[in-house]
């Protein structure tokens, strides 16, 4: 198992090295290396998944490599029920992103940056040491900045801003969250006995929990910092412009995968190390999550740019995710952890699919603004069907992963029992209606009805793009029709510490 994990993590690194060595002219080889850097981890994650199912209760592969012993830092990697679905998500979305990248200029740098993001995201999800989790998450800063600045593109005349501004905005905003997280983590390092290792911290806290005040301060700071990363209201303002500007494969990786870093970290740290601190924030977080759902939904209804619709829809769905997280943090709500992980996977797949399709729309129809388009289903049947599938999936209709995920969120939120959560559950159900409204309306305006504007016939999406779409749709269908694929993993072992700490 350690070998599989090592191969999984080293494949993107090897691909990076290969891309650096290849000359700029060999685009096909560079692209092949990039696709391999996603294919190998996908294969390895499936292998790990098989082993995990066979192992049954208490599966947990861990690897510990001392890195800076003098500072107490070791590269502690661990695959368990929380991180395995994230590995699957990251490799599938990464594969789709690599397949969907088409002839960028400066291909070498482009694929190198995408591979770095993929590799470091994989490493982040399996990191059990807080320093390395932070390190791997923050390694995406430079690729994010460069991808948005150099290959970023805003449609002509529609926006008053530039890709350079968008790049700077997202980098500074996320950096602000990152610094907050760093301060909180450094404080945790010391009050937890000079260790950044989650396992050590968990064991220590089980014996002597940290004082409530300290826990609240640290978790509060983490909530703000990680909330910024996960577009929690009111720190969500960086996301629409960023995703509108980034090239689509980058948007797929960042919205589908990197956005989940924050929630994943809060789940891990909140359950393992700061259970009482997390509990104090469960109700406020539920309220904020409700605002996310409603605010995101209403703003999405007003958008004309497909990328903005998707971005605000993503903000709205992060509300669902935060609601499930809040339920997991409240006393006795540890069972909601599986809902959080399931939702991260479901949402990641669909938002990646949407950004991919929006990019196809831009390339084939020339515009991704709903007002410019209409009646495209006649001339672009494939894209029409693909969009319809995505809209159905995104609205949470049965057959796709989002339906199961949202039902799980309704259940865990309602069964938590307090007013804030019940209101949140009602808002979440209402959110399905809102999502369906703006998504179907945009679909109808774009693909059905009267055609607006003249456009020359353009080629349909190529084979690799279709493959990418297929991969994402099939994954979502698989999780949606057989939820047990993900829920059968043993979630109870990681949450045992919380139950121990909270008490019977």
């Amino acid at each position: 198992m350690n070998d599989i994990l090592s191969i999984l993590l080293l494949a993107p690194l090897a691909a990076c090295g290969l891309i650096i060595l290849l000359p700029e002219t060999r685009v096909r080889e560079i692209r092949a290396a990039a696709i391999a850097s996603a294919l190998v981890p996908a294969f390895c994650s499936l292998l790990l998944y098989g082993v995990a199912l066979a192992a049954g209760d208490g599966f947990r592969f861990a690897m510990d490599i001392p890195w800076v012993p003098a500072w107490g830092l070791s590269l502690h990697l661990c695959v368990d029920a929380f991180s395995l679905p994230m590995l699957l998500l990251t490799s599938v979305v990464g594969l789709a992103a690599m397949l969907a990248s088409a002839q960028p200029d400066r291909p070498k740098a482009y694929y190198l940056l995408l591979t770095v993001v993929l590799g470091t995201s994989l490493a982040a999800f399996v990191s059990r040491n807080l320093f390395f989790f932070y390190f791997f998450c923050e390694v995406t800063t430079i690729p994010k900045f460069l991808l948005t600045s150099i290959w970023g593109h805003l449609p002509e005349g529609k926006y008053r801003t530039t890709p350079k501004f968008a790049a700077m905005q997202v980098t500074l905003f996320i950096a602000f969250g990152a610094m907050t997280v760093l301060l909180a983590m450094s404080l945790l390092y010391y009050v937890g006995g000079q260790t950044m290792d989650l396992d050590t911290l968990r064991d220590q806290v089980a014996v002597t929990p940290l004082s409530l005040g300290v826990q609240q301060w640290i978790f509060g700071a983490l909530l703000v910092g990680f909330g910024i990363w996960s577009s929690m209201w009111p720190f969500h303002t960086w996301s629409p412009l960023t995703y509108a500007t980034m090239p689509a494969p980058a948007a797929m990786l960042f919205a589908g995968v990197a956005k989940n870093f924050g929630v994943y970290a809060l789940l891990r740290i909140g359950l393992d190390v700061l259970p009482q601190g997390a509990q104090s924030f469960a109700q406020p977080l539920a309220v904020i999550a409700t605002i996310n759902i409603i605010y995101g939904g209403f703003v999405a209804m007003r958008q004309a740019d497909w990328n903005y619709i998707i971005a605000y829809s993503s903000i709205s769905h992060m509300g669902y995710l935060l609601l499930a997280l809040a339920a997991a943090m409240s006393p006795g709500g540890a069972g909601a952890a599986s809902a959080v992980v399931f939702f991260m996977v479901a949402h990641g797949l669909i938002v990646a699919l949407f950004f991919l399709l929006s990019d196809c729309l831009q390339k084939t129809a020339g515009s991704r603004f709903v007002g410019d388009l209409g009646g495209l289903a006649r001339t672009m049947p494939f894209l029409g069907v693909a969009f319809a599938v995505a809209v159905i999936a995104g609205s949470g209709l049965p057959g796709f992963a989002n339906f199961v995920a949202e039902v799980m969120v309704f259940i865990v939120s309602w069964s938590e029992g307090s007013v804030a959560f019940r209101v949140g559950a009602i808002a979440a159900v209402w959110g399905v209606v809102m999502t369906a409204t703006y998504l179907f309306r945009a679909l109808r305006s774009t693909f059905h009805g009267e055609a607006r504007g003249e456009r020359a016939p353009s080629p349909p999406p190529g084979l690799s793009v279709r493959l990418a779409i297929l991969v994402l749709v099939l994954s979502s269908v698989a999780a949606g029709l057989w939820p047990r694929l993900l829920t059968d993993l043993n979630y109870s072992e990681p949450v045992t510490a919380q139950q121990k700490a909270v008490g019977p």
Binding site: W71, F135, V139, I142, L146, I150, A167, A175
Partner: protein
Amino acid sequence: MNLLYPVQLEAMLAILALGTLVAEAVRPFRNVKRLGYVLAAAVLGLLAFSMVIEPATSLFLNNTYKLDAFALFFKRLLLFTTSLVLVTAAVFSKELEHGVTEHYVLILLASVGMLVLCSAVDFILLFVALELITISFFVMNSHHRRDIASLEAGTKYLIMGALSSGLVVYGISYIFGTTGQTSFHAVAAALETRAGGDTALSIGILLVLLGLSFKISAVPGHMWTPDVYQGAPLSATSFLATGSKTAGIALMLTLLFEGLLPARGIWDPMTIYVAGVTLLYGNLGALMQTDLKRLLGYSSIAHAGYLLMGIVAMNREGLAAILFYIAQYSVSSMAGFLAMAAVIRKGGGANLSAFAGLHRRSPLLAAGIAVSMLSLAGVPPLSGFFGKFMLFTAVLKNALISPELVVLAILAALGVVISMFYYFRVVQTVYVEEPTDPTPIAVGHTLRIALTACILITILAGIFQSPLVDAALTAVAHLSAAL
């Protein structure tokens, strides 16, 4: 021979410098660029030699000079930095026009002063070394005799340097007057036996620290930094940013923790505020700069603030963090300066527009500047990030005891976010904008090797941090024994 043993590195450097000077006087060198490369290689040879020197526990030269692991760490770092500065000067030699050999000699002599300053444990030796460095820089900064910016830089450095040297001597005289000693250890012993509240001694300590703040460009000795960095020739700027600051911080650590530790009640609270103001001033001042050298001047003030953070952390981790930070800061900065040396022209200034679209003209130079800026900003996986991480953890270790440290840590975090704006803007300029003059820039072999080495060290030290961290911890073991 026994007398020369501790100062063998300085002696060899001095012989190299004076030998070059005499050779130039006898028969002027024609290929000054190659001379620079040869001198750089010679200094690298000295660096290799220094690696076999064993740290000594006893003091030398009548208890004024130490050669322990701490001193050796800084000597090796300074030798490496000097070598890189000589390469920078060699690449920039066409712009230096005349007196290039003398410029090299001054670099070497300043380096001698810096090496001595790292080992000084006596106020007199401190002052002598300080003056050697400062006077060498007086001349280096105003190298371009007909460029008014350079003359202004030299004059400002002269006036501020003279003022601070005067303050240092005045402070030393107070300390000598009250304790009767000039050796750091003797002063520490005298401080311990003395009952607290000796005004004259406190004034002396404060004056010395005030004068030394000039050396590391901390508030209030920071005013000269942007103007001098902008006006001085690039090689002088690079040496100021890296070598001078390194020597200054080494001296501050030795002075504060070996000499003035019993008086920490005086200098510790003050340094917390100085650190906070310094890093705010530097980061805010750099925001609107359009000249890269001036921007690096303000950022240098900010980095002095971060270094002072390590001092007020008052623990072993803080001191080790400072050593790691200054080592990676020197190498990261030199990567940027090496790249700049091939781009800017005398009198043309280092305006950011000169760097627009640099990647089209030379991918290596663009990478050098980008890696340098990103490491200074503290972004993973570069070494600057781990330096800042070490500083933050060190400061927060004592945060539960003194809440001011929490405020300082928060200010530093804000400073990092602010700094990301101006550093990333440089990266954007280099990679996104179109060059005004798209002619490719030729990069010589030596520059290529030096720049690649700096880039690789910056990246690798950020990923495989353990060797440098262990070296730093070993170096501060003696210094932090009392903490």
